[in-house]
């Protein structure tokens, strides 16, 4: 029968399709990262360093209020607060602010801060040149530190955006592989 052969062929083709879709499922992850980074959504753009474009000028005609908020993941025993609750900033102006963190867990720990920016349409305009969230942060037992964020707001930010919230959640990342040696760049140990 000729049909037997074509069953095999079609089954094989469809089977390859199934395998492709299984692979596609994993491809969704880099795709997601890529789209988020490109569009600056979901805090993905905010967890890697931006470059200040040459010729960026400060737009003194506008001010934007930036709120800072922090939270701790699960029951992480940490004190983690912004030193200033909010600031006002001109688009194009670079600011340095500090977040205070204190390890109260009673042992050394690797922490990872994950940023989030609201409203989501403002996310891609808030850019950081340096941030403690770019790397894992190591804390000795009872260690306290002020951790820096250098950021600016892109002057192309739409007019209707008047207030932006930058929030961080601090996670215990001890269970995950250490990504780099201890970095304390910009950190003020207290």
């Amino acid at each position: 029968m000729t049909t037997k052969k074509s069953h095999k062929r079609l089954t094989l083709i469809l089977g390859c399709g199934v395998l492709f879709m299984f692979g596609f499922c994993y491809m969704l992850i880099p795709l997601y990262e890529l789209v988020c980074k490109k569009e600056g959504i979901n805090g993905k753009g905010a967890s890697s360093a931006a470059v200040i474009q040459s010729g960026m000028t400060v737009d003194h005609s506008r001010v934007i209020k930036v709120d800072f908020s922090t939270s701790l993941h699960a029951n992480l025993k940490f004190k983690f607060i912004p030193l200033e609750r909010h600031i006002t900033i001109h688009p194009g102006e670079t600011k340095l602010i500090y977040f205070y963190a204190e390890n109260q867990t009673g042992h050394e720990i690797t922490a990872q801060a994950v940023p989030s920016i609201t409203p989501s349409d403002a996310a891609k305009y808030l850019k950081k040149t340096q941030c403690f969230c770019f790397t894992q942060q190591y804390f000795f037992k009872k260690e306290k530190a002020d951790m820096p964020v250098y950021f600016f707001i892109d002057p192309s930010v739409p007019k209707e955006i008047k207030e932006i919230t930058l929030s961080y959640t601090l996670f215990d990342a001890s269970a995950f592989p250490k990504k780099q040696a201890r970095v304390t760049q910009g950190r003020i140990d207290l």
Binding site: T3, H7, T11, Q112, S120, A123, T169, A175
Partner: protein, 534 residues
């Protein structure tokens, strides 16, 4: 597509290599006969309907009054999870696969499915998958308790130990569905009788062809999704864990990339059944056959690009919300085409109201209610209010109970006399229908208002002002459950060859299609010589 059928010799007249089924349980264990496997699927699904229905009753008892009635909050969560998983993967999908096995070869004039042994395997994976899932109820720890959508980190970081059993049972169900749909697609492509062109195929076959492709495309994504969960739980990856650089929102994207086509998998074959039943009892050709085919394919395709409407409140950016809102509303167009075509089929037909037709008409009215609340949910500004409330529960039960489940009932009443050679009791069928309709609406219609008034879903307790409507819903659920006992009785009677004998090939005078050219009850082997379709 009323095709004159040239059917040289009714099978069974002089059979040289005809043999009946084996005796005893071996018949069912080793069978490669599409009718046996179809029966297995349908019986399995019926058992699971009562298992998951029992869980639904427990949920409704708990919600009869505020405060604790019967279940602890932990048990309540496990019941909602299991109820959802079993109804989706253990009832609707196997029942529709059962119809596919029984009917597709008979409808396209093929002797059997293309890959009969694979067919056996794809069924027999299911009982094992569900034994594994249900076994978690008897373990010392909690069984899965994170809802049927198993969002990370609820199912990864905080999932109970039994989550691993859940993951592997999903793998097995997924494998079963992939193999079954592979078989169905190959059968439809390769086994059509001479003259059975694509645009002559019954709509049920078309619906299953679209569904088959959907399953092949998204079941591997579900498998990948639960595999990622497994790796996050045990192998120190962090696909969905923000602490390690992952993202829990990513889980929702991956899940709903599977999950949205999945809801069309649950309804498209049902549309196919309705497209067979309504013309038969209106004694008219289906109105707009080609439009129906394109609408089916259209729904299947659009289903891939609307998944984010399940995630409007996750902080999705403005443009994504806009796009997914419009794309979702677009689904209403092909669905509307179908609904209007069914209405046009009924229009000026000489209609009779036998049980299959009653279920089909019930479907037509109440599925549309579910469809309209779906359009309401697709509107981003309104969605922020409805999200996570009982409004959503009302919506998806209208499309799944009066949608998928009613189409399955319609199909069973329509083809059971053909399969078994026994006519069901029309009185009992009507009882089943009316109890189902009344029970269903009492249960789920008040939920719309509960949701709009702010009652959150997935919570075992509620504020005191919601009591009345919840009590109505609970009473409705029990009425619905009693109705299903009539169905059970009807099916058992037919399978035990009790009841009025049917001898005509065409059990229903208005029925069309190749399956009605076969003798009643349908012999074990059919279309060993392919019929010629003109």
């Amino acid at each position: 597509m009323s095709e004159a059928i040239h059917h040289a010799h009714h099978s069974g007249a002089h059979d040289d290599h005809h043999h009946g089924p084996e005796k005893g349980f071996k018949r069912w264990l080793f069978t490669t006969n599409h009718k046996d496997i179809g029966t297995l699927y349908l019986v399995f699904s019926l058992i699971m309907l009562f298992v998951a229905g029992f869980m639904a009753l427990l949920i409704r008892i708990e919600l009869f009054e505020p405060g604790k009635v019967l279940l602890s909050p932990e048990t309540f969560n496990q019941m909602t999870t299991m109820h959802g998983l079993i109804m989706v993967f253990g009832v609707i999908m196997p029942a529709l696969a059962g119809f596919a096995n029984w009917l597709i070869p008979m409808m396209i004039g093929a002797p059997d499915m293309a890959l009969p042994r694979l067919n056996n395997w794809s069924f027999w994976l299911l009982p094992f998958a569900f034994s594994m899932l249900l076994s978690t109820l008897f373990m010392s720890g909690p069984s899965p308790d994170f809802g049927w959508t198993f969002y990370a980190p609820l199912s990864t970081t905080y999932g109970p130990q039994s989550t691993d059993f859940f993951i592997f049972s999903i793998h097995m169900m997924g494998a079963s569905s992939i193999l079954a749909s592979l078989n169905i697609v190959v059968t439809i492509f390769n086994m059509r009788a001479p003259g059975m062109h694509f645009m002559k195929m019954p709509l049920f076959v078309w619906a299953w062809l679209s569904t088959g492709f959907l399953l092949l495309a998204v079941m591997p994504v579900l498998a990948g999704c639960v595999t990622m969960m497994l790796m996050d739980r045990h192998f120190h990856t962090s696909f969905f864990n923000a602490a390690g650089g992952g993202d829990p929102v990513l889980f929702q994207h991956v899940f709903w990339f599977f999950g949205h086509p999945e809801v069309y998998i649950l309804i498209l074959p049902g549309f196919g059944i309705i497209s067979e039943v309504i013309p038969a009892f209106s004694r008219k050709k289906l109105f707009g056959y080609a439009a129906m085919v394109y609408a089916t394919a259209g729904i299947a395709i659009v289903g891939f690009v609307v998944w984010m409407h399940h995630m409007f409140t996750t902080g999705a950016p403005y443009f994504a919300q806009l796009y997914f809102m419009y794309a979702t509303m677009l689904v209403a167009v092909p669905t509307g085409i179908k609904v209007f075509n069914w209405l046009a089929t009924i229009f000026k037909g000489s209609i009779t109201f036998e049980t299959p037709m009653l279920f089909a008409l019930g479907f037509l009215v109440m599925f549309t209610i579910g469809g309209l609340s779906g359009v309401m949910l697709s509107l981003v500004p309104a969605d922020y209010q409805y999200r996570g409330s009982y409004f959503v529960v009302a919506h998806f039960h209208y499309v799944l109970v009066t949608g998928s489940l009613f189409t399955i009932f319609a199909g069973v009443y329509y083809w059971l006399p053909k399969w078994t050679g026994r006519m069901y009791s029309e009185t009992l069928g009507q009882f089943h229908f009316w109890l189902s309709v009344i029970g269903m609406n009492l249960t789920f219609f008040p939920m719309h208002f509960l949701g709009l008034a702010g009652m959150p879903r997935r919570i075992p307790d509620y504020a005191i002002q919601f009591t009345d409507f919840n009590q109505i819903a609970t009473i409705g659920a029990f009425i619905f459950a009693i109705g299903q006992l009539f169905f059970l009785y009807v099916v058992i009677q037919a399978c035990r060859h009790k009841g009025k004998r049917v001898v005509e090939d065409k059990v229903w005078e208005g029925a069309h299609g190749l399956e009605w050219t076969l003798p009643t009850p349908v012999p074990y082997h059919t279309f060993e010589t392919a019929p010629v379709v003109h």
